[in-house]
């Protein structure tokens, strides 16, 4: 019997048992806090095909230089690998481009959750002066002038090329961009050998340290908001304040929403560096360090953090189609 704690959460769970507190991970009916990705809802294939073309079509932007895929490269984990992306006029975007993969499973879109649906997200990017800087009447006109689009739209939609149909087509395509069958999902579905012993330890640490309090559910995040710096002043210590740092405050104007962001999904996280809305963490290790310091407010051994990074690598899934 040792006086030093061997594992903090086990200890906490036991204490919770003792004092009858409901603080620990009690599984109740549905078991694990992370759930495997469900299969995506069936999409109309004709609309998906139109969406695929539009997604890669730079004509959506004002001067034809930027397409959705410019910042959401399906070959680069659905993002662009840069801290902040370059928009239509060469200016930098406000925040880091999040991955488009599994975005359909996020409860809101954008870092500050200002869009309720993929359709609404598309609308805001098209009209954003830094990103695509387009007007819908121009987009509709350009698409309608293309004979291929025109006939495809007419057979897929009753009213042909319209703003709503363009949004719907792109969103339909995006709803197919899911990455099931990650090794971790296979583990959750009962294949005990899908992840290694070291990765299992990583998952245990992920739960024990409390990462899972926010990064949970089917998307390992993407279903709630949280303040960045809830246990420490991240922005004060990072310096160089930007407007985008205000997060949800920009949407609601409520004081307590300052620095509050959507908790990002950790699926495919190993493929989507750099991290955070400001792209400040270049590696997963750095990101995990920041999370420990400002979100969990606690320290951990190098070994435990490495375990967690190993676990995060098991969240990379497969995308069936070709970009």
């Amino acid at each position: 019997m040792s006086a030093r704690p061997r594992s903090p959460i086990l200890a906490a769970a036991a204490l919770a048992l003792l004092l009858g507190l409901a603080v620990s991970a009690s599984s109740a009916a549905t078991g694990e806090p992370i759930q495997p990705l469900p299969s995506p809802p069936e999409q109309d294939t004709a609309r998906v095909e139109i969406g695929r073309r539009l997604f890669h079509d730079a004509r959506l932007s004002r001067n034809g230089r930027v397409s959705c895929a410019s910042c959401h490269d399906l070959g680069k984990g659905g993002a662009d690998g840069r801290a902040r992306s370059t928009g239509v006029h060469g200016q930098l975007t406000d925040v880091n481009a999040p991955t488009v993969f599994n975005a359909a499973f996020n409860f809101r879109q954008f870092w500050n959750g200002r869009a309720d649906s993929l359709e609404a997200q598309i609308d805001q990017v098209i009209r954003n002066p830094v990103e695509m800087d387009s007007r819908w009447e121009d987009v509709v006109r350009k698409v309608a002038q293309d004979a291929g689009y025109r006939s495809a739209f007419i057979s897929a939609y009753r009213d042909g090329v319209t703003q709503a149909n363009i949004q719907n087509a792109i969103a339909s395509f995006e709803r197919t961009l899911v990455t099931p069958n990650s090794r971790f999902d296979r583990f959750l579905r009962g294949d005990a050998n899908a992840i290694t012993a070291a990765e299992k330890v990583g998952y245990l640490r992920f739960k024990q340290y409390g990462c899972v309090a926010c990064h949970q559910g089917v998307n390992v995040g993407g279903n709630m908001f949280q303040k960045f710096g809830v246990m420490g002043d991240y922005f004060g210590q990072r310096g160089m304040p930007m407007q985008a740092d205000l997060g949800r405050y920009l949407v609601t104007g409520t004081e307590s929403d300052k620095h509050v962001f959507k908790v990002p999904s950790l699926r495919n996280v190993a493929l989507t560096a750099p991290y955070f809305h400001d792209g400040s963490a270049k590696t997963l290790e750095e990101a995990v360090d920041v999370m420990f310091r400002y979100q969990l407010g606690r320290t951990a051994s190098r070994e435990d953090k490495e375990s967690i990074v190993k676990f995060l690598h098991t969240l990379s899934g497969q995308w069936e189609a070709t970009p």
């Binding site: 204490l15 109740a28 409390g210």
Partner: protein, 896 residues
């Protein structure tokens, strides 16, 4: 003559056109009316309400850790939005009608849902942080403490402060009182001030610890506030308002619709009269007739055709329904329910509508013999004055003798005085759906892991049981069973052992139940039980109690001994009260939630009233009253010893009941019953007197008994003056000193007497007897009690000690309590010491602690106790060793 004839003709023509236009307008109005609309709206609103209730329940469940993720909470608002849109689509045509206030009400509901969603988002953010800080705090305290080492005065002060803050923080999370919050803030400021004196590493750790205490303070308050605000959002009220508005509107439309039909008849008659009049006029003037005839003939033909068509269609109620697969019908509201209309498409089922209308007993023709009784019962219910629309499923006989499954939804139409005028309804063919359902259930009836029934089977049987019970069959109950803390088993021993545990639980559940009951696994560690033929509500309580006890027995799985308990939510079917199988499921779920919320390892009904009713009736109250007279009670004694030497320093008196049928019962089995049955004072008096008498006997035999511990229950404390009298009298009667007696009061009891400002403990203290707090650490652990009541001992609960050997955090908590008690100069007695390892741990914790437990001695009868006292010490040599401990060691809690 000619001029006047022409003007009459013009007037007639104008009148004819006016009548025609009116007919067309009336027809258009009736097209907009559909009986099935209202049914769908009602179903939608009911669904809306259910989703809303489930959403709120999910929030509560997240709050107590019953949901391991928040996905539940994000799907409900989307679902509510979708349902609301459907409601709005149904009510869109009223939006232009200023007399209908439904439109603004949907806006109000939408706003309420949005507001609630916003609050729930904030709840999630706060709850996740709170959850982490609470989980981490014991470790943070332990890390800080070990970094302090054996430092100087500053370090010791910090260590004491940390102990205190750790406990108050954990208590704050159970009950966030203002006083406790202030206490924590003061302690935090002190810690902050003392921190600067520490070495750098300790200073750092103190800062981390402080930050988490601060987080608990802030987030617990926020979470509590948000939960209150969420509960206060009036979504349910808004839905009810909407429902009322829809009912009113439906009634208005139905009345208007009947009016329209009368107008149509009147106008048709007028038109016919006009035509007759015109014909007579025309016969009088041939030339005029010729001129006008053509036009009039055209109009006449057109009108006649229209009138016939429309009149028939209108009396057939609705052409849209006519062409849909749905069959519409109307019954006259007399008890024999003559059929007054049925859609023409009943021909699709091989019946002739005209013959059905003529048939005096149409139900005999249409409803399959097996379902006649069900159908007749449903029709009988319609006659009840406050009967609502409803739906039944039965097999319909087609003209060629085949059977089709149909769903029949119907609404009684009443006049404003509530008299039944008609019954209107629709019949939908659900044969394919039924077949698909049966197919699916055949494919998947059982749970593969445990071999129990699965959720689908359970739901199906529940629906059957509900239908049977509403027809007058036996009542039944559903039990929702959820294992407490199953997850740590999975996490520490692995999924294979977790699976073994689930299988063993399944077996025990089946062993508890009869063949007619149904046990199902709903998923994860959630089970359900359908208790068939429930005699009364109390018997559901008895069964739930049995399940709870059986599941709490230790499990031996693959070489590991595992202990888990179960929380159970019970919902009995109550005739005339239970609304439906789905509602019962929600209530069982709510009951389960209550059971978790109120401390797990127990069963609860969905309401307090039911809980109490069952407890009161389940049991032994009456028998216990007689037991005292019949001398069925007996006192056992358990030695209290010095941990290090095994020297006996006291005896705790424990009451047993040699129940004629149930065998030897320990106090835990009947004390609460005695409390409720009002026999607790008599029982307590018996125990006090018998214990004192025993002490006298021992003394007379020359056996020294240092202290005799006696448990006091809440009921005794409530009758404070009587208790004081009894104690003084017993002491005097048996020639004892007050300090010979120590009274044990559990924390739970203490919390209640504190709340009611009961002053009996200080008065007992004034008598000179000693006071100990029993089961310390299991309930509200407040250090205020220690000061207020100047207690002599804290008794640390067995459950705390049990995990301390394996788990550093529990060990830390016990050390914290010991440290605090030492500061306050209060003795410690550790209950339930069973093994050498536990004894070693307690010795290493460094206190001059007293102990009792199987390691030293089990409770023994008076004669054996005398022997123990004579020998002066007791220890593992003379009692069962750790390996021989009986499988179900008895705890010494709550025994008077």
């Amino acid at each position: 003559m000619k001029a006047s004839g022409r003007s009459v003709w013009r007037a007639s023509a104008a009148l004819a056109f006016v009548l025609l236009a009116t007919l067309v307008a009336l027809y258009a109005r009736t097209l907009g009316y559909s009986e099935s609309d209202h049914l769908e709206e009602t179903v939608l609103l009911r669904h809306l309400k259910q989703v809303d209730a489930q959403w709120e329940l999910d929030v509560l469940k997240s709050g107590v850790g019953m949901h391991p993720h928040y996905d539940h909470l994000t799907t409900s608002p989307a679902e509510l939005g979708r349902l609301l849109e459907q409601v709005e689509a149904h009510t869109a045509h009223w939006a232009h009608d200023p007399a209908t206030p439904a439109a603004p009400r949907t806006a109000g509901l939408r706003e309420a849902i949005r507001h609630k969603a916003d609050l729930i988002e904030r709840f999630k953010s706060s709850h996740s942080v709170l959850h982490n800080s609470l989980a981490f705090l014991p470790t943070a305290a332990e890390e800080l403490r070990s970094s302090l080492g054996r430092g100087g005065a500053a370090e010791r002060r910090v260590a004491a402060g940390v102990n205190h803050l750790l406990l108050t923080s954990l208590l704050y999370s159970r009950s966030a009182t203002e006083v406790r919050g202030t206490e924590m803030r003061t302690a935090l400021q002190q810690l902050d001030a003392q921190r600067v004196l520490l070495p750098p590493d300790a200073r750092n750790r103190a800062a981390i610890f402080g930050a988490h205490v601060d987080a608990i303070l802030r987030q617990q308050t926020t979470v509590d506030r948000l939960l209150a605000e969420i509960a206060a959002v009036p979504t349910a009220t808004r839905i009810d308002e909407l429902s009322d508005a829809l009912d009113a509107e439906q009634h208005r439309e139905a009345v208007r619709h009947r009016g329209d039909r009368q107008y149509l008849l009147t106008f048709s008659a007028l038109l016919a009269g006009l035509l007759l009049y015109s014909a007579i006029r025309l016969m009088r003037s041939h030339t005029e007739i010729r001129r006008v005839n053509q036009a009039l003939h055209d109009a006449n033909e057109h009108l006649e055709q229209r009138v016939q068509e429309r009149t028939r269609e209108l009396s057939d109620a609705n052409i849209i329904v006519q062409n849909s697969p749905t069959i519409l019908y109307r019954l006259s509201g007399e008890p024999s329910f003559p059929l007054i209309y049925i859609s023409h498409n009943i021909t699709k089922f091989g019946h002739d509508p005209a013959r059905l209308l003529a048939s005096p007993d149409w139900a005999q023709v249409l409803v399959a013999p097996d379902d006649q009784a069900k159908f007749a019962a449903a029709m009988a219910r319609v006659l009840e004055k406050d009967a609502q629309g409803a739906s039944i499923e039965y097999r319909l006989c087609t003209g060629d003798g085949a059977r089709r499954w149909v769903e029949n939804r119907y609404v009684p139409v009443r006049d404003p005085k509530g008299r039944l005028i008609e019954v209107e309804g629709i019949v939908i063919d659900i044969t394919e759906r039924k077949a698909a359902e049966e197919h699916i259930t055949r494919l998947a009836r059982t749970d593969t892991l445990t071999g129990l029934a699965n959720r689908a089977t359970f739901t199906e049987r529940l629906h059957q049981a509900f239908a049977a019970a509403s027809r007058g069959a036996n009542s039944f109950a559903i039990h929702y069973i959820d294992l407490d803390h199953f997850k740590p088993v999975n996490d520490t021993l692995g999924h294979p052992v977790g699976d073994l545990l689930l299988r063993e639980v399944a077996q025990r559940l089946q062993a508890c139940t009869r063949e007619t009951d149904l046990v199902a696994r709903l998923g994860g560690d959630e089970f359900a039980l359908l208790q068939a033929e429930m005699i009364d509500t109390a018997s559901a309580g008895v069964l739930a109690g049995k399940i709870q006890r059986d599941l709490a027995q230790p499990y031996s799985l693959d070489g590991h001994e595992v202990r888990v308990s179960a929380s159970i939510g019970v919902c009995p079917y109550v005739p005339g009260v239970s609304a439906g199988p789905d509602t019962m499921v929600v209530q069982a779920d709510l009951a389960l939630y209550r059971s978790k919320e109120e401390g797990r390892n127990q069963y609860r009904f969905h309401s307090d009233d039911l809980d109490r009713e069952v407890l009161d009736r389940v049991t032994l109250g009456e028998e216990l009253r007689r037991a005292i007279d019949r001398d069925e009670l007996e006192l056992y004694y358990q030695p209290q010893v010095e941990l290090a030497s095994g020297k006996v320093v006291g005896m705790e008196a424990l009451v047993r009941w040699n129940h004629p049928q149930r065998g030897l019962l320990s106090a835990g089995a009947f004390i609460s019953i005695a409390e409720r049955a009002g026999s607790i004072v008599a029982l307590g008096r018996w125990v006090l007197n018998r214990a004192c008498r025993q002490m006298r006997q021992w003394r007379d035999q020359g056996v020294e008994v240092p202290v005799l511990a006696i448990n006091l229950s809440l009921g005794q404390l409530k009758n404070g003056s009587e208790l004081i009298c009894d104690v003084s009298e017993s002491i005097a009667l048996w020639g004892l000193a007050p300090s010979d007696l120590e009274f044990d009061v559990t924390e739970a009891t203490l919390a209640q007497v504190t709340w009611t400002r009961n002053d009996v403990l200080p008065r007992l203290r004034e008598l000179g007897v000693r006071i100990a707090i029993d089961d310390f650490g299991t309930e509200y652990s407040s250090f205020e009690y220690l000061r207020t009541y100047r207690v002599n001992h804290l008794k640390i609960a067995q459950s705390m000690l049990k995990s301390a050997v394996d788990d550093p955090a529990s060990a830390a908590t016990i050390r914290a309590i010991i440290g605090l008690a030492r500061e306050a100069q209060i003795g410690i007695i550790v209950e339930g010491v069973e093994t050498q390892a536990q004894r070693d741990f307690l010795q290493s914790a460094g206190a001059a602690t007293l102990a009792q437990g199987y390691y030293f001695s089990e409770p023994v009868a008076a004669d054996d106790a005398g022997e123990v006292l004579r020998s002066g010490t007791v220890g593992p040599a003379g009692v069962p060793t750790a390996g021989e401990i009986p499988a179900q060691p008895e705890t010494a809690q709550a025994l008077p």
